[in-house]
Assembly symmetry: C2
Homo-oligomer: 267 residues x 2
DNA sequence: CGAATATTTGAGGCCTATCAAAGTGAGTGG
DNA sequence: CCACTCACTTTGATAGGCCTCAAATATTCG
Protein backbone atom coordinates (compact mmCIF):
# COMPACT_ATOMS: atom_id res chain seq x y z
CA UNK A 1 0.00 0.00 0.00
CA UNK A 2 1.29 3.36 -1.02
CA UNK A 3 1.78 6.01 1.62
CA UNK A 4 -0.46 9.02 1.16
CA UNK A 5 0.65 12.50 2.14
CA UNK A 6 -0.41 13.97 5.43
CA UNK A 7 -3.35 15.83 3.97
CA UNK A 8 -5.20 12.56 3.64
CA UNK A 9 -4.02 11.05 6.89
CA UNK A 10 -7.06 11.54 9.05
CA UNK A 11 -9.64 10.54 6.49
CA UNK A 12 -11.39 7.28 6.92
CA UNK A 13 -12.46 6.75 3.34
CA UNK A 14 -9.73 7.34 0.86
CA UNK A 15 -12.03 7.78 -2.05
CA UNK A 16 -14.60 10.16 -0.71
CA UNK A 17 -12.61 13.18 0.29
CA UNK A 18 -10.28 15.72 -1.13
CA UNK A 19 -7.65 17.74 0.63
CA UNK A 20 -9.42 21.05 0.36
CA UNK A 21 -12.32 22.51 -1.51
CA UNK A 22 -10.38 25.68 -1.92
CA UNK A 23 -7.87 24.11 -4.24
CA UNK A 24 -10.40 23.00 -6.80
CA UNK A 25 -10.35 24.82 -10.10
CA UNK A 26 -13.79 23.92 -11.33
CA UNK A 27 -17.20 23.27 -9.85
CA UNK A 28 -19.74 25.12 -7.82
CA UNK A 29 -17.49 25.96 -4.90
CA UNK A 30 -15.09 27.81 -7.15
CA UNK A 31 -17.61 29.98 -8.91
CA UNK A 32 -16.38 33.55 -9.08
CA UNK A 33 -19.92 34.75 -9.67
CA UNK A 34 -21.48 34.04 -6.32
CA UNK A 35 -21.92 36.68 -3.69
CA UNK A 36 -22.03 35.59 -0.08
CA UNK A 37 -25.77 36.16 -0.11
CA UNK A 38 -26.17 33.94 -3.10
CA UNK A 39 -24.09 31.19 -1.57
CA UNK A 40 -26.34 31.25 1.45
CA UNK A 41 -29.43 31.28 -0.73
CA UNK A 42 -28.17 28.20 -2.52
CA UNK A 43 -27.48 26.42 0.72
CA UNK A 44 -30.89 27.27 2.12
CA UNK A 45 -32.62 25.91 -0.97
CA UNK A 46 -31.26 22.41 -0.40
CA UNK A 47 -34.18 20.19 0.53
CA UNK A 48 -32.36 16.97 1.16
CA UNK A 49 -29.02 15.28 0.98
CA UNK A 50 -28.31 11.61 0.72
CA UNK A 51 -25.44 9.20 0.76
CA UNK A 52 -25.09 6.64 -2.03
CA UNK A 53 -22.99 3.49 -2.18
CA UNK A 54 -20.42 3.04 -4.95
CA UNK A 55 -21.68 1.81 -8.32
CA UNK A 56 -25.27 2.91 -7.80
CA UNK A 57 -27.26 4.89 -10.32
CA UNK A 58 -28.25 8.35 -9.13
CA UNK A 59 -30.15 8.98 -12.33
CA UNK A 60 -31.21 6.61 -15.04
CA UNK A 61 -31.80 7.55 -18.62
CA UNK A 62 -35.19 8.86 -19.72
CA UNK A 63 -36.36 8.95 -16.13
CA UNK A 64 -38.10 12.11 -14.97
CA UNK A 65 -35.67 14.39 -13.19
CA UNK A 66 -37.20 16.78 -10.70
CA UNK A 67 -34.21 17.62 -8.57
CA UNK A 68 -30.96 19.31 -9.32
CA UNK A 69 -28.31 17.03 -7.83
CA UNK A 70 -25.01 18.40 -6.66
CA UNK A 71 -22.14 16.09 -5.81
CA UNK A 72 -21.00 17.22 -2.39
CA UNK A 73 -18.45 14.49 -1.84
CA UNK A 74 -17.18 11.49 -3.76
CA UNK A 75 -16.95 10.81 -7.49
CA UNK A 76 -19.57 9.88 -10.04
CA UNK A 77 -19.94 9.83 -13.80
CA UNK A 78 -22.47 10.38 -16.53
CA UNK A 79 -22.76 7.71 -19.18
CA UNK A 80 -24.77 6.64 -22.17
CA UNK A 81 -24.99 3.33 -23.94
CA UNK A 82 -25.14 2.46 -27.60
CA UNK A 83 -27.82 0.01 -28.72
CA UNK A 84 -25.14 -2.65 -29.22
CA UNK A 85 -24.15 -2.43 -25.57
CA UNK A 86 -21.10 -0.22 -25.88
CA UNK A 87 -20.84 2.26 -23.07
CA UNK A 88 -19.37 5.74 -23.11
CA UNK A 89 -18.77 7.95 -20.12
CA UNK A 90 -19.58 11.52 -21.06
CA UNK A 91 -18.55 13.32 -17.90
CA UNK A 92 -16.72 12.76 -14.69
CA UNK A 93 -18.23 14.37 -11.61
CA UNK A 94 -16.11 15.40 -8.67
CA UNK A 95 -17.19 17.31 -5.59
CA UNK A 96 -18.80 20.61 -6.55
CA UNK A 97 -20.05 19.34 -9.90
CA UNK A 98 -23.70 19.24 -10.79
CA UNK A 99 -24.93 15.86 -11.98
CA UNK A 100 -27.84 17.00 -14.13
CA UNK A 101 -27.64 20.68 -14.88
CA UNK A 102 -29.90 20.32 -17.90
CA UNK A 103 -32.79 19.24 -15.70
CA UNK A 104 -33.28 22.96 -15.14
CA UNK A 105 -34.71 23.15 -18.64
CA UNK A 106 -35.48 19.56 -19.64
CA UNK A 107 -37.90 17.25 -17.93
CA UNK A 108 -35.97 14.18 -18.94
CA UNK A 109 -32.27 13.66 -19.35
CA UNK A 110 -30.62 11.55 -22.01
CA UNK A 111 -28.02 9.92 -19.79
CA UNK A 112 -27.53 8.01 -16.60
CA UNK A 113 -25.38 8.99 -13.65
CA UNK A 114 -23.61 6.42 -11.51
CA UNK A 115 -21.47 6.71 -8.43
CA UNK A 116 -17.88 5.64 -8.44
CA UNK A 117 -17.24 5.94 -4.73
CA UNK A 118 -19.41 6.69 -1.75
CA UNK A 119 -21.14 9.87 -2.79
CA UNK A 120 -23.06 12.49 -0.89
CA UNK A 121 -25.59 14.27 -3.03
CA UNK A 122 -27.41 17.46 -2.24
CA UNK A 123 -30.73 18.20 -3.95
CA UNK A 124 -32.65 21.29 -5.05
CA UNK A 125 -36.10 20.92 -6.56
CA UNK A 126 -36.35 22.37 -10.05
CA UNK A 127 -38.86 24.97 -9.10
CA UNK A 128 -36.69 26.42 -6.38
CA UNK A 129 -33.55 26.21 -8.48
CA UNK A 130 -35.26 28.14 -11.25
CA UNK A 131 -36.49 30.70 -8.77
CA UNK A 132 -32.95 31.18 -7.53
CA UNK A 133 -31.72 31.58 -11.08
CA UNK A 134 -34.29 34.24 -11.82
CA UNK A 135 -33.67 36.10 -8.62
CA UNK A 136 -29.88 35.96 -8.38
CA UNK A 137 -27.82 36.82 -11.44
CA UNK A 138 -24.75 35.30 -9.83
CA UNK A 139 -26.47 31.94 -9.53
CA UNK A 140 -27.62 32.13 -13.12
CA UNK A 141 -24.08 32.93 -14.24
CA UNK A 142 -22.73 30.12 -12.12
CA UNK A 143 -24.94 27.49 -13.69
CA UNK A 144 -24.32 28.82 -17.17
CA UNK A 145 -20.60 28.85 -16.45
CA UNK A 146 -20.72 25.25 -15.26
CA UNK A 147 -22.44 24.24 -18.48
CA UNK A 148 -19.74 25.98 -20.46
CA UNK A 149 -16.89 24.38 -18.55
CA UNK A 150 -18.55 21.04 -19.15
CA UNK A 151 -18.60 21.87 -22.81
CA UNK A 152 -14.93 22.79 -22.81
CA UNK A 153 -14.06 19.51 -21.12
CA UNK A 154 -16.25 17.58 -23.56
CA UNK A 155 -14.43 19.23 -26.46
CA UNK A 156 -11.12 17.99 -25.12
CA UNK A 157 -12.56 14.51 -24.68
CA UNK A 158 -13.73 14.56 -28.28
CA UNK A 159 -10.24 15.52 -29.39
CA UNK A 160 -8.85 12.62 -27.39
CA UNK A 161 -11.41 10.15 -28.68
CA UNK A 162 -11.00 11.22 -32.27
CA UNK A 163 -7.36 12.00 -32.71
CA UNK A 164 -5.15 10.85 -29.89
CA UNK A 165 -3.34 7.57 -29.36
CA UNK A 166 -4.23 5.39 -26.41
CA UNK A 167 -1.14 6.62 -24.58
CA UNK A 168 -1.98 10.26 -25.08
CA UNK A 169 -5.64 9.72 -24.20
CA UNK A 170 -4.83 8.18 -20.87
CA UNK A 171 -2.17 10.74 -20.08
CA UNK A 172 -4.54 13.57 -20.96
CA UNK A 173 -7.30 12.22 -18.78
CA UNK A 174 -4.97 11.92 -15.82
CA UNK A 175 -3.71 15.46 -16.32
CA UNK A 176 -7.26 16.76 -16.45
CA UNK A 177 -8.32 14.95 -13.33
CA UNK A 178 -5.30 16.07 -11.38
CA UNK A 179 -6.30 19.67 -11.96
CA UNK A 180 -10.01 19.27 -11.45
CA UNK A 181 -9.36 17.60 -8.18
CA UNK A 182 -7.30 20.50 -6.99
CA UNK A 183 -3.82 19.08 -7.16
CA UNK A 184 -0.97 21.48 -7.54
CA UNK A 185 2.74 20.89 -7.78
CA UNK A 186 5.02 19.50 -10.40
CA UNK A 187 6.74 16.50 -8.89
CA UNK A 188 5.55 13.34 -7.20
CA UNK A 189 1.97 14.46 -7.25
CA UNK A 190 -0.14 11.82 -5.54
CA UNK A 191 -3.87 11.47 -5.07
CA UNK A 192 -6.71 8.95 -4.81
CA UNK A 193 -7.98 7.77 -8.16
CA UNK A 194 -11.08 5.58 -8.00
CA UNK A 195 -11.53 4.85 -11.71
CA UNK A 196 -11.07 1.24 -12.70
CA UNK A 197 -9.30 0.36 -15.90
CA UNK A 198 -12.55 -0.66 -17.53
CA UNK A 199 -14.04 2.72 -16.66
CA UNK A 200 -10.99 4.50 -18.02
CA UNK A 201 -11.64 2.57 -21.19
CA UNK A 202 -15.25 3.71 -21.20
CA UNK A 203 -14.13 7.31 -20.97
CA UNK A 204 -11.54 7.00 -23.69
CA UNK A 205 -13.13 4.61 -26.13
CA UNK A 206 -10.70 1.78 -25.42
CA UNK A 207 -11.12 -1.77 -24.19
CA UNK A 208 -10.09 -2.63 -20.67
CA UNK A 209 -7.42 -4.93 -22.07
CA UNK A 210 -5.87 -2.18 -24.08
CA UNK A 211 -6.08 0.27 -21.19
CA UNK A 212 -4.24 -2.25 -19.11
CA UNK A 213 -1.43 -2.63 -21.63
CA UNK A 214 -1.13 1.11 -22.08
CA UNK A 215 -1.20 1.97 -18.37
CA UNK A 216 1.41 -0.67 -17.87
CA UNK A 217 3.56 0.92 -20.55
CA UNK A 218 3.16 4.37 -19.01
CA UNK A 219 4.18 2.87 -15.72
CA UNK A 220 7.19 1.21 -17.27
CA UNK A 221 8.18 4.52 -18.81
CA UNK A 222 8.09 6.08 -15.36
CA UNK A 223 5.32 8.50 -16.28
CA UNK A 224 2.80 7.33 -13.72
CA UNK A 225 2.18 4.89 -10.94
CA UNK A 226 -1.33 3.58 -10.51
CA UNK A 227 -2.15 0.94 -7.99
CA UNK A 228 -4.53 0.47 -5.12
CA UNK A 229 -6.65 3.28 -6.54
CA UNK A 230 -3.88 5.75 -5.93
CA UNK A 231 -2.24 7.66 -8.72
CA UNK A 232 1.23 9.12 -8.59
CA UNK A 233 2.65 11.44 -11.21
CA UNK A 234 6.39 11.73 -10.70
CA UNK A 235 6.81 14.47 -13.30
CA UNK A 236 3.72 16.42 -14.28
CA UNK A 237 5.46 18.22 -17.13
CA UNK A 238 6.55 14.94 -18.71
CA UNK A 239 3.05 13.51 -18.56
CA UNK A 240 1.58 16.69 -19.99
CA UNK A 241 4.04 16.48 -22.81
CA UNK A 242 2.98 13.03 -23.92
CA UNK A 243 -0.66 14.05 -23.44
CA UNK A 244 -0.39 17.28 -25.37
CA UNK A 245 -2.11 18.80 -22.35
CA UNK A 246 -2.69 22.51 -21.92
CA UNK A 247 -4.50 23.28 -18.66
CA UNK A 248 -5.84 26.68 -19.61
CA UNK A 249 -9.26 25.39 -20.63
CA UNK A 250 -9.95 24.43 -17.03
CA UNK A 251 -9.13 27.83 -15.67
CA UNK A 252 -11.32 29.94 -17.82
CA UNK A 253 -13.60 30.97 -15.01
CA UNK A 254 -10.63 32.74 -13.48
CA UNK A 255 -10.25 34.93 -16.51
CA UNK A 256 -13.71 36.28 -16.93
CA UNK A 257 -14.35 39.82 -17.86
CA UNK A 258 -14.83 42.16 -14.97
CA UNK A 259 -18.28 42.95 -16.29
CA UNK A 260 -19.50 39.50 -15.40
CA UNK A 261 -18.31 39.50 -11.82
CA UNK A 262 -20.61 40.40 -8.98
CA UNK A 263 -19.96 43.95 -7.95
CA UNK A 264 -22.28 44.39 -5.01
CA UNK A 265 -24.00 42.03 -2.66
CA UNK A 266 -27.63 42.48 -3.53
CA UNK A 267 -30.19 41.92 -0.87
CA UNK B 1 -26.71 17.08 -60.90
CA UNK B 2 -29.43 15.87 -58.60
CA UNK B 3 -32.79 17.59 -58.71
CA UNK B 4 -33.66 19.39 -55.51
CA UNK B 5 -37.22 19.69 -54.28
CA UNK B 6 -39.24 22.79 -54.94
CA UNK B 7 -38.46 24.30 -51.57
CA UNK B 8 -34.95 25.03 -52.76
CA UNK B 9 -35.84 26.01 -56.27
CA UNK B 10 -35.62 29.75 -56.03
CA UNK B 11 -32.47 29.94 -53.98
CA UNK B 12 -29.37 31.11 -55.68
CA UNK B 13 -26.81 29.54 -53.36
CA UNK B 14 -27.53 25.96 -52.55
CA UNK B 15 -25.39 25.91 -49.50
CA UNK B 16 -26.42 29.02 -47.70
CA UNK B 17 -30.11 28.60 -47.19
CA UNK B 18 -32.58 26.27 -45.66
CA UNK B 19 -36.18 25.76 -46.57
CA UNK B 20 -37.68 27.36 -43.53
CA UNK B 21 -36.54 28.53 -40.17
CA UNK B 22 -39.70 27.23 -38.69
CA UNK B 23 -38.81 23.66 -39.32
CA UNK B 24 -35.61 23.74 -37.37
CA UNK B 25 -35.59 21.81 -34.12
CA UNK B 26 -32.63 23.48 -32.45
CA UNK B 27 -31.05 26.89 -32.40
CA UNK B 28 -32.01 30.35 -31.39
CA UNK B 29 -35.04 30.66 -33.64
CA UNK B 30 -36.68 27.67 -32.03
CA UNK B 31 -36.27 28.75 -28.45
CA UNK B 32 -39.51 28.21 -26.56
CA UNK B 33 -38.37 30.67 -23.90
CA UNK B 34 -38.46 33.90 -25.84
CA UNK B 35 -41.35 36.28 -25.64
CA UNK B 36 -42.00 38.55 -28.60
CA UNK B 37 -40.54 41.41 -26.63
CA UNK B 38 -37.40 39.48 -25.98
CA UNK B 39 -37.03 38.51 -29.61
CA UNK B 40 -37.22 42.14 -30.54
CA UNK B 41 -34.77 43.08 -27.82
CA UNK B 42 -32.32 40.54 -29.21
CA UNK B 43 -32.71 41.86 -32.70
CA UNK B 44 -32.22 45.44 -31.60
CA UNK B 45 -29.02 44.57 -29.79
CA UNK B 46 -27.31 43.41 -32.96
CA UNK B 47 -24.56 45.88 -33.73
CA UNK B 48 -23.32 44.49 -37.01
CA UNK B 49 -23.67 41.62 -39.39
CA UNK B 50 -21.16 40.42 -41.90
CA UNK B 51 -20.83 37.95 -44.71
CA UNK B 52 -17.90 35.53 -44.76
CA UNK B 53 -16.55 33.40 -47.59
CA UNK B 54 -16.34 29.64 -47.22
CA UNK B 55 -13.35 28.22 -45.34
CA UNK B 56 -12.57 31.38 -43.42
CA UNK B 57 -11.97 31.55 -39.69
CA UNK B 58 -14.55 33.54 -37.78
CA UNK B 59 -12.72 32.99 -34.54
CA UNK B 60 -9.24 31.69 -33.90
CA UNK B 61 -8.14 29.95 -30.78
CA UNK B 62 -6.92 31.95 -27.80
CA UNK B 63 -7.92 35.18 -29.51
CA UNK B 64 -9.90 37.68 -27.46
CA UNK B 65 -13.61 37.33 -28.16
CA UNK B 66 -15.68 40.42 -27.54
CA UNK B 67 -18.75 39.68 -29.62
CA UNK B 68 -21.34 37.00 -29.44
CA UNK B 69 -21.59 35.65 -32.98
CA UNK B 70 -24.80 34.14 -34.24
CA UNK B 71 -24.87 32.21 -37.49
CA UNK B 72 -27.76 33.72 -39.41
CA UNK B 73 -27.24 31.76 -42.62
CA UNK B 74 -24.82 29.15 -43.88
CA UNK B 75 -22.85 26.49 -42.05
CA UNK B 76 -19.73 26.66 -39.91
CA UNK B 77 -17.92 24.51 -37.38
CA UNK B 78 -15.88 24.71 -34.22
CA UNK B 79 -12.61 22.84 -34.15
CA UNK B 80 -9.52 22.23 -32.09
CA UNK B 81 -6.17 20.82 -33.03
CA UNK B 82 -3.88 18.45 -31.22
CA UNK B 83 -0.20 19.38 -30.95
CA UNK B 84 0.64 16.68 -33.50
CA UNK B 85 -1.59 18.32 -36.08
CA UNK B 86 -4.67 16.13 -35.74
CA UNK B 87 -7.86 18.12 -36.03
CA UNK B 88 -11.20 17.48 -34.38
CA UNK B 89 -14.42 19.27 -35.11
CA UNK B 90 -16.28 19.78 -31.85
CA UNK B 91 -19.50 21.30 -33.14
CA UNK B 92 -21.37 21.94 -36.31
CA UNK B 93 -23.12 25.29 -36.58
CA UNK B 94 -26.22 25.72 -38.69
CA UNK B 95 -28.42 28.82 -38.94
CA UNK B 96 -29.65 29.85 -35.52
CA UNK B 97 -26.64 28.45 -33.67
CA UNK B 98 -24.33 30.60 -31.62
CA UNK B 99 -20.68 30.29 -32.53
CA UNK B 100 -19.14 31.23 -29.20
CA UNK B 101 -21.69 31.12 -26.42
CA UNK B 102 -19.00 30.81 -23.78
CA UNK B 103 -17.66 34.24 -24.64
CA UNK B 104 -20.42 35.50 -22.38
CA UNK B 105 -18.35 34.36 -19.43
CA UNK B 106 -14.85 33.75 -20.79
CA UNK B 107 -12.62 36.34 -22.35
CA UNK B 108 -10.88 33.82 -24.51
CA UNK B 109 -12.17 30.71 -26.15
CA UNK B 110 -10.30 27.44 -26.55
CA UNK B 111 -11.32 26.70 -30.10
CA UNK B 112 -11.51 28.13 -33.58
CA UNK B 113 -14.60 28.57 -35.72
CA UNK B 114 -14.46 28.24 -39.50
CA UNK B 115 -17.08 28.69 -42.18
CA UNK B 116 -18.09 25.82 -44.38
CA UNK B 117 -20.23 27.79 -46.83
CA UNK B 118 -20.95 31.45 -47.30
CA UNK B 119 -22.00 32.55 -43.83
CA UNK B 120 -23.80 35.57 -42.55
CA UNK B 121 -22.93 36.33 -38.96
CA UNK B 122 -24.74 38.65 -36.63
CA UNK B 123 -22.90 40.13 -33.65
CA UNK B 124 -23.79 41.29 -30.15
CA UNK B 125 -21.12 42.87 -27.96
CA UNK B 126 -20.59 41.01 -24.71
CA UNK B 127 -21.67 43.88 -22.56
CA UNK B 128 -25.02 44.19 -24.27
CA UNK B 129 -25.57 40.46 -24.41
CA UNK B 130 -24.97 40.23 -20.67
CA UNK B 131 -27.32 43.13 -20.08
CA UNK B 132 -30.01 41.33 -22.07
CA UNK B 133 -29.44 38.18 -20.07
CA UNK B 134 -29.80 40.02 -16.79
CA UNK B 135 -32.89 41.87 -17.88
CA UNK B 136 -34.80 39.15 -19.74
CA UNK B 137 -35.18 35.76 -18.12
CA UNK B 138 -36.27 34.28 -21.44
CA UNK B 139 -33.01 35.29 -23.05
CA UNK B 140 -31.06 33.86 -20.15
CA UNK B 141 -32.96 30.60 -20.43
CA UNK B 142 -32.43 30.56 -24.16
CA UNK B 143 -28.66 30.84 -23.93
CA UNK B 144 -28.52 28.32 -21.12
CA UNK B 145 -30.70 25.98 -23.14
CA UNK B 146 -28.45 26.33 -26.16
CA UNK B 147 -25.46 25.41 -24.04
CA UNK B 148 -27.30 22.35 -22.81
CA UNK B 149 -28.36 21.23 -26.26
CA UNK B 150 -24.75 21.61 -27.34
CA UNK B 151 -23.81 19.40 -24.46
CA UNK B 152 -26.34 16.78 -25.44
CA UNK B 153 -25.04 16.75 -28.99
CA UNK B 154 -21.46 16.55 -27.76
CA UNK B 155 -22.39 13.54 -25.63
CA UNK B 156 -23.70 11.75 -28.68
CA UNK B 157 -20.57 12.61 -30.61
CA UNK B 158 -18.49 11.17 -27.78
CA UNK B 159 -20.50 7.98 -27.96
CA UNK B 160 -19.90 7.81 -31.69
CA UNK B 161 -16.20 8.56 -31.39
CA UNK B 162 -15.69 6.09 -28.60
CA UNK B 163 -17.93 3.19 -29.35
CA UNK B 164 -19.39 3.18 -32.84
CA UNK B 165 -18.05 1.70 -36.06
CA UNK B 166 -17.22 3.97 -38.95
CA UNK B 167 -20.50 3.02 -40.63
CA UNK B 168 -22.58 3.84 -37.61
CA UNK B 169 -20.69 7.07 -36.95
CA UNK B 170 -21.36 8.40 -40.41
CA UNK B 171 -24.96 7.26 -40.37
CA UNK B 172 -25.50 8.87 -36.97
CA UNK B 173 -24.02 12.16 -38.06
CA UNK B 174 -26.25 12.28 -41.11
CA UNK B 175 -29.33 11.52 -39.04
CA UNK B 176 -28.44 14.27 -36.60
CA UNK B 177 -27.86 16.84 -39.30
CA UNK B 178 -31.09 16.00 -41.08
CA UNK B 179 -33.01 16.87 -37.96
CA UNK B 180 -31.03 19.94 -36.97
CA UNK B 181 -31.52 21.31 -40.41
CA UNK B 182 -35.26 20.93 -40.16
CA UNK B 183 -35.87 18.03 -42.46
CA UNK B 184 -38.96 15.96 -41.85
CA UNK B 185 -40.32 12.98 -43.68
CA UNK B 186 -39.30 9.37 -43.86
CA UNK B 187 -38.60 8.62 -47.51
CA UNK B 188 -36.33 10.17 -50.10
CA UNK B 189 -35.34 12.99 -47.82
CA UNK B 190 -33.01 15.28 -49.73
CA UNK B 191 -31.06 18.34 -48.69
CA UNK B 192 -27.83 20.27 -49.27
CA UNK B 193 -24.86 18.90 -47.38
CA UNK B 194 -21.73 21.03 -47.59
CA UNK B 195 -19.37 18.86 -45.53
CA UNK B 196 -16.48 17.37 -47.45
CA UNK B 197 -15.34 13.87 -46.74
CA UNK B 198 -12.23 15.09 -44.98
CA UNK B 199 -14.37 17.23 -42.71
CA UNK B 200 -16.67 14.34 -42.00
CA UNK B 201 -13.55 12.48 -40.95
CA UNK B 202 -12.57 15.35 -38.67
CA UNK B 203 -15.95 15.17 -36.97
CA UNK B 204 -15.87 11.43 -36.55
CA UNK B 205 -12.23 10.70 -35.87
CA UNK B 206 -11.64 8.94 -39.19
CA UNK B 207 -9.31 9.57 -42.11
CA UNK B 208 -10.69 10.95 -45.34
CA UNK B 209 -9.71 7.73 -47.07
CA UNK B 210 -11.72 5.65 -44.68
CA UNK B 211 -14.67 8.01 -44.83
CA UNK B 212 -14.62 7.61 -48.56
CA UNK B 213 -14.68 3.84 -48.40
CA UNK B 214 -17.43 3.84 -45.81
CA UNK B 215 -19.63 6.39 -47.56
CA UNK B 216 -19.21 4.39 -50.71
CA UNK B 217 -20.34 1.28 -48.89
CA UNK B 218 -23.37 3.06 -47.44
CA UNK B 219 -24.19 4.21 -50.92
CA UNK B 220 -23.81 0.70 -52.31
CA UNK B 221 -26.14 -0.56 -49.58
CA UNK B 222 -28.72 1.97 -50.73
CA UNK B 223 -28.72 3.78 -47.40
CA UNK B 224 -27.65 7.17 -48.71
CA UNK B 225 -26.71 9.06 -51.79
CA UNK B 226 -24.14 11.79 -51.42
CA UNK B 227 -22.83 13.65 -54.40
CA UNK B 228 -22.46 17.24 -55.51
CA UNK B 229 -22.88 18.31 -51.89
CA UNK B 230 -26.41 16.99 -51.86
CA UNK B 231 -27.47 14.23 -49.52
CA UNK B 232 -30.40 11.91 -50.15
CA UNK B 233 -31.72 9.49 -47.57
CA UNK B 234 -34.07 7.03 -49.29
CA UNK B 235 -35.23 5.44 -46.05
CA UNK B 236 -34.70 7.40 -42.85
CA UNK B 237 -35.71 4.52 -40.61
CA UNK B 238 -33.14 2.22 -42.21
CA UNK B 239 -30.35 4.74 -41.75
CA UNK B 240 -31.37 5.36 -38.17
CA UNK B 241 -31.27 1.67 -37.56
CA UNK B 242 -27.67 1.26 -38.64
CA UNK B 243 -26.80 4.44 -36.75
CA UNK B 244 -28.51 3.45 -33.53
CA UNK B 245 -30.06 6.90 -33.72
CA UNK B 246 -32.75 8.14 -31.35
CA UNK B 247 -33.78 11.72 -32.14
CA UNK B 248 -35.24 12.58 -28.78
CA UNK B 249 -32.11 14.29 -27.52
CA UNK B 250 -32.58 17.00 -30.13
CA UNK B 251 -36.13 17.74 -29.13
CA UNK B 252 -35.70 18.28 -25.46
CA UNK B 253 -36.48 21.94 -25.61
CA UNK B 254 -39.95 20.95 -26.71
CA UNK B 255 -40.52 19.01 -23.54
CA UNK B 256 -39.59 21.52 -20.94
CA UNK B 257 -41.51 21.90 -17.78
CA UNK B 258 -44.24 24.48 -17.91
CA UNK B 259 -42.51 26.33 -15.10
CA UNK B 260 -39.69 27.31 -17.39
CA UNK B 261 -41.82 28.73 -20.18
CA UNK B 262 -42.53 32.40 -20.43
CA UNK B 263 -45.98 33.10 -19.03
CA UNK B 264 -46.38 36.78 -19.66
CA UNK B 265 -44.77 39.25 -21.96
CA UNK B 266 -42.90 41.52 -19.61
CA UNK B 267 -42.44 45.09 -20.65
C1' DC C 1 -11.57 -18.43 3.19
C1' DG C 2 -14.36 -18.62 -0.97
C1' DA C 3 -16.86 -16.01 -4.50
C1' DA C 4 -16.93 -12.23 -7.18
C1' DT C 5 -14.48 -8.65 -9.29
C1' DA C 6 -10.15 -6.54 -11.42
C1' DT C 7 -5.86 -6.89 -13.47
C1' DT C 8 -2.58 -9.14 -16.29
C1' DT C 9 -0.95 -11.90 -20.10
C1' DG C 10 -1.11 -14.27 -24.70
C1' DA C 11 -2.48 -15.27 -29.50
C1' DG C 12 -4.75 -14.00 -33.50
C1' DG C 13 -7.34 -10.97 -36.46
C1' DC C 14 -9.89 -7.00 -38.03
C1' DC C 15 -10.63 -2.24 -38.60
C1' DT C 16 -8.70 1.78 -39.64
C1' DA C 17 -4.40 4.42 -40.69
C1' DT C 18 -0.72 5.43 -43.80
C1' DC C 19 1.38 6.09 -48.08
C1' DA C 20 0.93 6.63 -52.91
C1' DA C 21 -1.20 7.63 -57.16
C1' DA C 22 -4.84 7.92 -60.48
C1' DG C 23 -9.33 9.85 -61.62
C1' DT C 24 -12.83 13.64 -61.47
C1' DG C 25 -14.72 18.19 -61.48
C1' DA C 26 -14.75 23.21 -61.05
C1' DG C 27 -12.54 27.30 -62.02
C1' DT C 28 -8.97 30.16 -64.57
C1' DG C 29 -6.66 32.12 -68.21
C1' DG C 30 -4.99 31.93 -72.82
C1' DC D 1 -12.90 26.11 -76.29
C1' DC D 2 -9.08 24.01 -74.50
C1' DA D 3 -4.86 23.51 -71.51
C1' DC D 4 -3.94 23.97 -66.84
C1' DT D 5 -4.34 24.13 -61.87
C1' DC D 6 -6.24 23.12 -57.60
C1' DA D 7 -9.05 20.56 -54.62
C1' DC D 8 -11.53 16.62 -53.75
C1' DT D 9 -12.70 11.76 -54.49
C1' DT D 10 -11.50 7.21 -55.51
C1' DT D 11 -8.60 3.17 -55.58
C1' DG D 12 -4.76 0.04 -54.19
C1' DA D 13 -1.29 -2.00 -51.17
C1' DT D 14 0.60 -2.41 -46.76
C1' DA D 15 0.99 -1.92 -41.90
C1' DG D 16 -0.13 -1.12 -37.25
C1' DG D 17 -3.01 -0.15 -33.34
C1' DC D 18 -6.52 -1.75 -31.00
C1' DC D 19 -10.03 -5.44 -30.45
C1' DT D 20 -11.59 -10.15 -29.43
C1' DC D 21 -11.42 -14.26 -27.15
C1' DA D 22 -9.50 -16.86 -23.53
C1' DA D 23 -7.33 -17.94 -19.37
C1' DA D 24 -4.28 -17.10 -15.44
C1' DT D 25 -3.29 -14.19 -11.55
C1' DA D 26 -4.39 -10.74 -8.17
C1' DT D 27 -7.51 -8.22 -5.32
C1' DT D 28 -11.73 -7.11 -2.85
C1' DC D 29 -15.38 -8.24 0.07
C1' DG D 30 -18.77 -10.83 2.56
Amino acid sequence: MIELPAAYANQSDLHSYWPSRNLRSTGLWRSPFLTKTEQRALERAVTWSKRFDPHKDLITEAERADNLLIVASGWAYRYTCAPDGGRQLTALLVPGDVANLDMLLFERVAYSVRTLTDVTVVALPRKQALALVDEHPGIAHTFTGLAMIENAIASKWMLSLGRRSAHARIAHLLCEIAIRVGIEGENDVIFPFPLRQEQIGDVLGLTNVHVNRTVRQLRKDGLIQLCDRVLTIPDVAALRYVAGFDPSYLHMLRHIDAAARPTADAA
